[in-house]
């Protein structure tokens, strides 16, 4: 079963008005369960819009979006996916543990179950000792790990991420990429990941979706079949060849 099926999707903002923007046009994309897909492209190519259509935070102007073989909105109502953003979007007024428990509260989990689950998730992102801290006491990278833990807390089959590491420094970023791949390996979750960074896209994903702007289209889909990522992968010639391949595809797009 495909985790995501996007068929003939277009998105027009402010239709019929002077500030009308054709954000996406003719998008077809299928994502298999367990895949790690990145969406990459220049600003204005609609990659974040496509992510929000999959999340049913926006609705398409044309075409259909299916998540887990049901309409995207139903998938949202069924809480089939977890989401993380560029800003961690943590609630300052909740402790780290309570932030992770927020989706569980909304789903009506009991207090004991929530406690246990948030403790597990904090261990997963290696922040066990920070449960009772407030987000403002954590570094940017730690906050982003809490956001990922929150997105995964209810074991969604799909994880949607909108440039989650965009605001982090290079060192933290690479570390977070490894963390994310480890979590992905442990949970088997399908991931759709929006990024600006070519090496990040190649390092993380099974397939890189290259998008072109005005209106946003899928220009190329590149298999990043590099096998298991290790510390050596980033220095591998195969890795560099893939980076070049994506870069060339992006250059064609910018034309």
């Amino acid at each position: 079963m495909n985790a995501i099926d996007v068929r003939g999707v277009a998105k027009v903002f402010n239709p019929g008005r002077s500030n009308q923007v054709e954000a996406l046009s003719g998008i077809d994309l299928s994502v298999e369960s367990g895949e790690f897909i990145t969406l990459i492209g220049p600003s204005g190519c609609g990659k974040s819009t496509l992510l929000r259509l999959i999340a049913s935070l926006l609705s398409p102007s044309a075409g259909s979006v299916q998540v887990n073989a049901k309409p995207a909105e139903q998938a949202r109502l069924d809480r089939d996916y977890g989401m993380a953003f560029q800003t961690a979007g943590l609630f300052d007024w909740r402790t780290v543990a309570k932030n992770i428990e927020l989706p569980l509260e909304l789903m009506g989990w009991s207090k004991g179950d929530r406690r246990r689950r948030s403790a597990e998730m904090l261990d997963l992102v290696k922040l066990g000792e920070f449960a009772k801290h407030h987000p403002s006491e954590l570094s940017g990278g730690m906050q982003q790990r809490v956001a990922i833990a929150r997105a995964l807390a209810f074991s969604p089959s799909l994880l949607l991420m909108d440039e989650p590491f965009g605001a982090l420094d290079e060192m933290t970023r690479e570390h977070m990429q490894d963390e994310l791949l480890r979590i992905w390996g442990e949970t088997g979750t399908t991931v759709v990941f929006v990024t600006h960074s070519i090496p990040e896209a190649v390092y993380l994903s099974t397939r890189v979706v290259v998008m072109s702007p005005r209106p946003g289209r899928i220009a190329a889909i590149i298999n990043a079949d590099l096998g298991d990522r290790t510390a050596a992968t980033r220095d591998d010639t195969a890795f560099f060849k893939k980076v070049t391949e994506v870069r060339v595809a992006l250059r064609d797009v910018e034309g």
């Binding site: 560029q86 800003t87 979007g89 609630f91 927020l102 407030h134 403002s136």
Partner: protein, 259 residues
């Protein structure tokens, strides 16, 4: 210990200011009605303790009741306008229009409505003056949320009320308390000036006008001092509530080293 440390600098400044005030007056020796010395004001306060105490109770009641009603109305209106579009289109322009009126200038007119010796008109003035800063600030806090927090809640299929409760209201708290700090001093000013025009005659406002009319300036200053005490106590109460309601906020401030 920290509280004592925080207080020592302003206390020292106060002692210096009052010392200079007292010293300058004994040196220059102007006529008593220009500016009484701090010692004379304290003397007048002790001599007229019963009247000042009674006045503080009367004015304090007007301030506190008006403040509470104004805060409740302001916060409720802010919730309404940020929740319902029609409420926003009706209440917001109305509130802005009311705020353009120099409300304190309405005191004689309100006295006519509620009766010259009734405290109701003074309460109404306080409510009207407190309402606006609470309304505007709280509404801003309810609207100015991190968009990704709202998207996150929508991704959890949370309804609008739940989003208000989990995101908007906590986000509005710092704005709300900033408004309350403004509102406490506004409320004291509003009550005392309104009392110049009517209401109970044993309140602080009439005590100031009558003492000044009889050139008993030390007594007038004693009543002003009592008004300042009401404002200071209420400000302190707001600070305590702020700490209790937003334990996370002092944490943020200490980490970002804001004033």
């Amino acid at each position: 210990m920290n509280a004592l440390k925080g207080l020592s600098a302003p206390l020292a400044a106060g002692v210096v200011i009052f010392g200079l005030w007292q010293g300058a007056l004994s040196l220059l020796d102007p006529d008593g009605f220009v500016l009484p010395a701090p010692s004379e004001i304290v003397g007048a306060l002790i001599d007229n303790w019963d009247e000042v105490y009674q006045g503080t109770r009367i004015t304090g009641f007007v301030v506190v009741s008006g403040l509470l009603a104004g805060i409740l109305l302001g916060a409720a209106a802010a919730l309404l306008v940020t929740r319902f579009r029609t409420a926003n289109e009706t209440i917001t322009p109305l509130a802005v229009a009311v705020n353009a009126i120099p409300i304190i200038a309405l005191a004689p007119i309100f006295n006519n409505w509620f009766g010259l010796t009734s405290p109701r008109s003074n309460q109404a003035i306080v409510v009207a003056l407190v309402f606006f800063p609470v309304f505007i600030n709280t509404a801003r806090g309810l609207v100015r949320v991190d968009p990704s927090q709202v998207e996150l809640m929508e991704s959890y299929a949370a309804n609008r009320w739940r989003i208000t409760r989990e995101v908007r209201i906590p986000n509005a708290m710092p704005f709300f308390f900033t408004a309350l700090k403004l509102a406490t001093s506004l409320a004291v000013i509003a009550a005392i000036v309104a009392e110049y025009f009517g209401g109970r005659q044993d309140a602080l406002g009439p005590m100031i006008t009558q003492s000044a009319g009889l050139t008993r300036y030390d007594e007038a200053w004693a009543a002003v001092l009592a008004g300042a005490a009401i404002g200071a106590v209420l400000y302190g109460v707001v600070l305590v509530f702020e700490r209790v309601a937003m334990p996370w906020h002092s944490l943020i401030r200490s980490h970002r080293e804001e004033p």
